[in-house]
């Protein structure tokens, strides 16, 4: 039987925040599109943090859902044996939210305000 190399994987750690930077607790984050992956959703803690692991190397789009907010999205490039950081901003759907009306997302390999260098997965 021929041997088959198993795909390398990495992980992503992210923060779900309002557009003014406030953490959103109990948001659900999952992969909207990307390579084959475990179909589990991550929940955010009080600091808005979530972690998704076991992702094959490739480009993913993450989606965050939380009550009172429109879905937020972020693209992220998963790197083998590394943990990538991402930040997902969400716009509130109710009046008087602290949102500034913009929706944006960014990701980078380590090095943002939440992390140091890339992590070993």
């Amino acid at each position: 039987m021929p041997t088959r190399q198993r795909a390398a994987t990495g992980s992503v750690r992210g923060y779900v925040v309002t557009t003014s930077g406030q953490p959103i607790e109990d948001a659900m984050v999952a992969v909207e599109s990307g390579p084959t992956r475990p179909d589990i959703a991550a929940g955010t803690g009080p600091d808005g943090c979530f972690i998704l692991g076991g992702l094959r190397v490739g480009l993913y789009m993450l989606r965050a859902d939380a009550e009172g907010f429109t879905p937020g999205f972020a693209d992220v490039q998963i790197v083998a044996n590394m943990r990538v950081d991402v930040r997902i901003q969400m716009i509130g759907t109710s009046r008087g939210s602290d949102d500034d009306g913009f929706e944006s997302a960014s990701s980078e390999l380590g090095g943002d305000e939440h992390s140091g260098d890339g992590y070993e997965d």
Partner: protein
Amino acid sequence: MPTGIMSPKKVTALQQTFARYGASANGESESVIDDTKKAEAGQESTEYGGDETGGESDAEAGGESTEGQEETEASGDHTPVSNVSVQSSSSSRDDGGEAGGDESAQEGILGDIVSGIGGLFENVEGWDESAAQPQESTAETEARIDAFFASNSETGNQEFFGALIPVFKALAPVLINLVTKQGGKILQGAIRQRVRQRVLTTAPTLARVLPKESSAETGESGLTEADIESLVEAATALESVIGHDDRVQITPTNKVPWNRICLLRIRSSLGSYYYGTGFLIGKRTIATAGHCVYMHGAGGWASSIEVTPAPDDGAMPYPKTTATSFRSVRGWTVGKKRICDYGCIIMPQGWHMPQPNAFAYGVLSDMAIQGAKLNLAGYPADKPRNTMWYHGRSGAKATKNVIYYSNDSFGGQSGSPVWVKKNGKRTVVGIHTNGGTTANSATRVTPAVFANLDAWRTEGGV
């Protein structure tokens, strides 16, 4: 001879394909398990002869994997493991007909399932069965698609097209007919833009191999703007939910089989939270994905899982309960093998649903699975919180340990049941684990998986 389960003789006649129904009596259970073990040895070179032709290979499909480790079954992969010390289960069972719900064993069910290709989708209001049939391409179509891929191999664009082949193969019916409008899903700009760029780049080649059925003016690409928009819409949709999003919400959820499906809120040992789905297979046993109970990269065994049977938006027909006793197999916890991605939750002593109610599970042949209408339901994270969603599709592909299908799923549905309904009886044939671009997939109920589910079901009381 026990009643309600196929006799060993019949089992042999049916190419050693088995099914197990929840409410069978003691002697029946033992008999089936023995048969299953016999079958396991014999199937390696026959029924489960390593057909890896469909979808991605098991190894490629692995969400959790280890570099350089090949994903083939090894001795001990299906050895059960637990996060708590487990007393060996009693050999005497008190089935008593309590579990099993409407899947109580009935003579002849197995034969019907195995020989009767097809089955039924669930009767769900709003569900459009006509949309669930796979679109078949003609021989002429296939030839054009082959020419398309061959042409692109010659242009030296292999790397680029290599990445696109799964998408375009999946898009074949759309490409050929140029009439399919995959609407209804608002998609985000970033990926849509990338897909659009890909389509525009490939448009000249596509135009050479596609029939011109449109009379509208075409641009430099040879395709009309409407053609391109259709392709972009379809390709982008395929990046997530496969094709048109025609999932249907289940409400109310307090009816069979929906009230067997549970929302899981998982707390990892590191304190992070995850969401998944599970389903009752016994009085206190909830089957789910291995990665819902043991998370590589998140501390291993879950610390606790909050189980809520059949939540329905704001309504909670049944109370939520926190469980701390979990099971999986070494092939998952140690081997990280996608083909071993299954496990279960044993609910606390005293926990029970108001009425006995559990899914049956069974080992079906490749043919039976591939010809069946597969049902899938769970709690996707892209839908309103605590809402259950259903999707049905036929045309699955079964490999030795994995079932690939186009039933839509989303994060949060790991652990959902994948079942066949035949003559009013439901049999779970897979545990949903993975989402993907070209196919979603489940850990298949093989004889080894079956044996563990059976043991765990017994452990939780049947």
